[in-house]
Amino acid sequence: MAVVELVGLTKAYNGHVAVSEVNLKIASGEFFSLLGPSGCGKSTTLRMVAGFVAPDDGRIFIDGDDIVDRPPEKRDVGIVFQNYAIFPHMNVADNIAFGLRMRKVDKTEIKLRVGEALQQVGLAGYERRFQKELSGGEQQRVALARVLVTRPRILLLDEPLSALDKNLREEMKYWIKDLQKSLGITTIYVTHDQGEALTMSDRIGVMNKSRVVRVGTPTEIYERPGDLFVTTFIGESNLLDGTVRLSTADSIRLALGDGSEVSAPPRKGLIAGQRVKLVIRPENILLDGAPIDGLAGLPAVVEAKIYQGALIRYRLSAAGQSIVAEVQNQIGHTQYDPGSRITAHWHPERTEVLPVE
């Protein structure tokens, strides 16, 4: 379908920088999420692509056409808003036909395509309803149908699930993803919900303080965050204070607080003596009574055990620091009571060393 490229996109409001130097290349048919905390500039980025906000600097290309100077109606970009923006004075059929009428499509074809679109979003028979007579989920489907019926080159979604209740949100997550896949439409999805981004996206761009700090597949983002902000924003991480002893092309030796040393995967640009954080996800920590060969390990004391049903969560003290571990509550797994002296293990390749800024 269409390739989107953002080059050096920058926008400030009265001197307050909302988006700075955003460079992204989104492949044809890709589901790309912009993920980040509130106020990081996700919506502003999306609104620049839609044409509602003029960037101070930078270019936006769709299939190589620079669209920065085009008004929204000449961009062929479909957008679904957080509040759905269904026209309240038109019924569902007229809402969906709106874009086709603007494109001067002839009447019989409009009728046909509106019918198809309603079928596609599972709302056949809703033609005569008005916005007031639709639930949130139905409004969202209408909003999607209204956009998709015009066959836009790209689809923009700004937190489309945040107004729905939790169950519906789960359902719509997969439904939107499936629809997107079957249409193969290039999609930019804005959300502050990491669960949505991880399950729906082909790739994610994590934003913080007006910048895109990391781009990657959900697996890459989660398992190799490569950035302290991304690590803490997505999922949960143990951040152990350490000092680099030795940094080679193959591995890093780290000294943790109490003098114990561990190995970690290599990272460029680190020098001996540098203060760093060792990042370990709670689910990557294995607990055992005795050291296991081939794994990194630290002697630890169980401080607290929190039963969570499917998971058991431990708070440990190791190397003079506090560590959280999560263990699947499976049959045959030993449980440890507070006060137990055990060893906390992990696969070194499941950890990351990040410099402290």
Binding site: E73, F87, T150
Partner: protein, 304 residues
């Protein structure tokens, strides 16, 4: 007895929550307003109706109850009188249309001005023009529109025209006066409605392919209709019943219903005939409400 009553009221009250009224007692809140309304509106209007059905008797103010349609027959049999209905309605409709056309852009500008300082400034501009007494504003207009007023004076001095243009003491002058007096009401009624149109509707229309003009015609204007109609009804009511504007700007040459009423009552002491004309004006205004309802229902597109 009294003590027991208070105690049981107190427990009842605590069960009913903060306001101390159950739904069945909420109507107590509107008693003062209702009394005011009955004494100062319903009674005078009823006595006016009654008076309009009395036989003409110069100088008599109180209704006697000698039922006769004399006043109405007289009104509807003389073109001098019944034509003034059409004149009144035409002037009022023209005023409300012009006020809507002139007021909409200003209301839109104010509704879309986000900067708090600028917004307050524009609002003060609108409200201040309302605070100034109508008569004073009309004298201002007369200075502008009179035969040797600013406009005619300048045009004659620059030899654009030889004799003054008829800008006042005619229907045109009355409409200008009505629009001038009612414009703030129109603008206020529009601002609220335009503000309530969510900006994302405009953006959705644009990105679906509508130009700014199409967006206005197909989304903003239809959604503004409730405010436009309410404003027009307000202007219609004010313009159709304004004696001051018709007298000052029309100079007793534009015979609308309020001028007839004033002439009958004040100059001739013909209270019964005056009351009959007032009743007719009242019916005209009530009909306007029905027209408003009908149009509102049609333009709301199923939203009610």
């Amino acid at each position: 007895m009294a003590v027991a009553g208070t105690a049981s009221q107190l427990t009842a009250r605590s069960r009913r929550g903060v306001f101390g009224f159950g739904w069945n007692r909420l109507w107590l809140l509107v008693v003062p307003m209702t009394l005011f309304f009955i004494v100062f509106f319903v009674l005078p209007v009823l006595s006016m109706f009654a008076l309009s059905l009395d036989k003409p008797a110069a100088g008599t103010v109180a209704a006697k109850g000698d039922f006769a349609l004399t006043n109405f027959i007289r009104f509807f049999s003389q073109p001098l009188y019944y034509e003034s209905i059409f004149r009144t309605v035409a002037i009022s409709i023209a005023s409300s249309v012009i006020a809507a056309v002139l007021g909409y852009p200003l209301a839109y500008l104010i509704a879309k001005t986000e900067h708090p300082g600028r917004n307050t400034f524009l609002m003060i501009l609108v409200l201040a023009s309302m605070q100034l007494d109508g008569v004073i504003r009309l004298y201002g207009l007369m200075v502008l529109l009179g035969d040797n007023g600013l406009i005619n004076g300048s045009l004659i001095r620059w030899h654009v025209i030889g004799s003054p243009l008829p800008l006042m003491y005619n229907v045109f002058g009355v409409i200008v006066g009505d629009v001038q007096i009612t414009l703030p009401f129109m603008v206020l009624s529009l601002i609220g409605v335009i503000r309530s149109i969510h900006p994302s509707l405009e953006e959705a229309a644009r990105s679906l392919g509508a130009s700014p003009g199409q967006t206005f015609r197909r989304v903003i204007l239809p959604l503004s209709m409730p405010g436009i109609l309410a404003g027009m009804l307000l202007v219609f009511a004010l313009a159709s019943s304004s004696y001051v504007v018709a007298a000052l700007m029309g100079g007793w040459k534009v015979w609308v219903l309020p001028v007839h009423i004033f002439q009958q009552v004040s100059n001739g002491g013909h209270w019964q005939f005056g009351a009959a004309i007032a009743t007719i004006l009242f019916v005209v205004n009530i009909s306007a409400i029905f027209v408003y309802q009908a149009v509102a229902a049609r333009t709301s597109g199923g939203r009610i």
